[in-house]
């Protein structure tokens, strides 16, 4: 069934779909970041993915492009899931907001900005959410030390 949605998506946005993968029965579609808002709108209106479960950033340090933003979608009517990913380059770490498509994206995108340092264009309220407002750096990036900044690396091991 997800395959049908992917075929439909490919039909509508042939040039934007970069990759389709299936792992453990879950379908992941990688798309170009320029088209993420129209694609999300399409998936919501035409394919019924009315529920955005989760949105997060992933840091593939050392690879090009460095980041991925991942959207986990759910269709409450057919109970199906779909995952959409967009690659994001380090020197242009911003994506258009999908909070216009699903209001719930608002806080998820704030968290993604806060912890991963990927910003969202046209976001209504892009502030830090979990870290203090004056914090420097983005803790979930792979090059951010586990101990936090300005501290001697812990010489022992994690418990």
């Amino acid at each position: 069934m997800s395959q049908a949605v992917v075929a439909k998506l490919k039909g509508a946005f042939a040039a934007s779909v970069l990759d389709v993968k299936e792992h453990r029965g879950e379908v992941t579609v990688t798309v170009k970041k320029e088209d993420i808002v129209p694609i999300c709108q399409f998936l919501k209106d035409e394919a019924g993915y009315n529920f955005l479960c989760d949105l997060c950033g992933v840091d593939y340090l050392g690879q090009q492009p460095r980041f991925m933003v991942v959207y986990n979608l759910y269709n409450i009517a057919t109970k199906e899931r779909l995952r959409v990913k967009v690659p994001v380059a380090e020197d242009d770490a911003c994506v258009d907001t999908v909070s216009t498509v699903w209001a719930t994206a608002n806080w998820h995108e704030r968290e993604c900005w806060d912890l991963m340092g990927i910003s969202f264009n046209n976001h209504p309220d892009l502030r830090r959410i979990l870290m203090p407002a004056d914090w420097e750096g983005h803790p979930l990036r792979k090059d951010y030390p586990l101990q936090g900044p300005d501290r001697e690396p812990y010489q022992g091991r994690l418990s």
Partner: protein, 392 residues
């Protein structure tokens, strides 16, 4: 026309009705709420970052500390996600699955009891608090018998359970679920027909089904807005498809209906637990997958092979093939999801938790705008948030 002035007041983070360390900046026009801005993060411990630096087995105890009122639900979500990533979902023995369901439902009752106790206390009904905590204590004792800890259970394991049920445990559970429906009647007797309770809850903090889906509400809060969606029935896991239970849906969209939904869910949980007890049969509690499952404790302390086996798994971890999974469970508060990416090493490359409370709290401002200040307290209570899970 006179200039309209509003007043900004600060509620929390040290405020008993915010259920932890939630800060709300409220803009008030008299007693009417014009806007509410939640500030979170006071309990941020970096669970996701920590998990990236531990093996899969050693990241499990971190999940206890998310929603600390429902630790086993978190454990369940995590182990299911890792099992899916490893591809051993089909190998989980029946007994382990049944015990998982039983404990997850006891956990649901436990979590709902704290919700009811504190929600009622916030609105001014003291007695319910005492009764609910009395019953919760019985579940805490079961937790302690089973795992040795009252809150941070860490009982499930990747591939099954850490140990089998102790002697007499099934009798405890049976006695509890036989008594529980009567207790729920008692709570209802104190609240449902109570005029003060009704005035504080009916029509308060409403949210329509459409808005609720848009803002991402899940769990009982969404079902009280008329959306018939329960992951236990719709995307079953751990054998939930074998149980007969009703999904409670009401369409009042208000605090009262969310209260009714959760009370009825506790009754349904008792039914599920009774079925689980009937299904319980002796058998293995750990999957036959020695390359990923920790060996039983008796092997570790009695044989050198067992010790080496455990040592290897603890230090190097199990290594799922590269890939990614998203697995969610119907936690007491809503959809709890774990999105885990493996790069083929022994540590999760990325673990994103989708905490239901985080998303549900986002609905608070639109639920309280234009309402009285006192309704903010009811709205926080009815959303059933836990800051440990919001801040992670």
């Amino acid at each position: 026309m006179a200039k309209k002035e509003t007043m900004t007041i600060n509620m929390g983070p040290q405020h008993p009705s915010t259920h932890g360390v939630l800060q709300l900046v409220l803009e008030l026009d008299g007693e009417i709420v014009v806007d509410a801005v939640p500030h979170i993060g006071f309990l941020h411990r970096g669970v996701e970052k920590l998990a990236e630096n531990r093996t899969y087995h050693r990241a499990l105890p971190l999940t206890d500390r998310l929603d600390y009122l429902a630790p086993m639900s978190n454990n369940l979500g995590y182990v299911l996600a890792v099992e899916k990533l490893l591809g051993i979902t089909d190998k989980i023995p029946q007994r382990a699955k049944v015990v998982r369901v039983m404990m997850a439902e006891l956990t649901r009752i436990k979590s709902h009891l704290v919700w009811l106790a504190t929600h009622a206390l916030d609105i001014g009904a003291m007695t319910v608090f005492l009764y609910c905590f009395r019953e919760r204590e019985a579940i805490m004792d079961m937790y302690e018998k089973l795992s040795g800890a009252r809150m941070t259970s860490n009982y499930f394991r990747i591939g099954g359970l850490s140990q089998d049920l102790p002697e007499g445990f099934e009798d405890d559970v049976r006695a509890f679920i036989e008594a529980m429906p009567g207790h729920i009647e008692t709570y209802e007797g104190l609240l449902t027909g109570n005029k003060i309770w009704q005035k504080r809850t009916i029509g308060v903090a409403t949210i329509s089904a459409e808005d609720a889906i848009d803002i991402g509400l899940s769990g009982p809060a969404l079902r009280a807005s008329g959306v018939d969606w329960d992951l236990r029935r719709d995307n079953p896991y751990s054998g939930y498809e074998e149980y007969d239970f009703n999904v409670i849906v009401r369409d009042g969209c208000d605090t009262f209906d969310r209260y009714k939904v959760r009370l009825d869910e506790m009754r349904e949980s008792c039914k599920i637990i009774a079925q689980a007890l009937d299904k319980l049969e002796p058998g293995p509690i750990l999957a036959d997958a020695p390359d990923v499952c920790l060996p039983p404790k008796k092997d570790v302390v009695n044989s050198i092979e067992g010790l080496i086996h455990q040592f290897k798994l603890i230090t190097e971890g199990c290594k799922p093939e590269p890939g990614e999974v998203y697995q969610s469970v119907e936690a007491p508060k809503g959809e709890l999801g774990f999105y885990i990416i493996s790069d083929g090493s022994g540590n999760p490359f990325r673990m994103k938790i989708r905490p239901p409370s985080f998303v549900n709290l986002q609905a608070l401002p639109q639920m309280v705008r234009g309402r009285l200040l006192a309704d903010v307290i009811a709205a926080i209570g009815t959303l059933d948030i836990v800051l440990g899970e919001i801040d992670r």
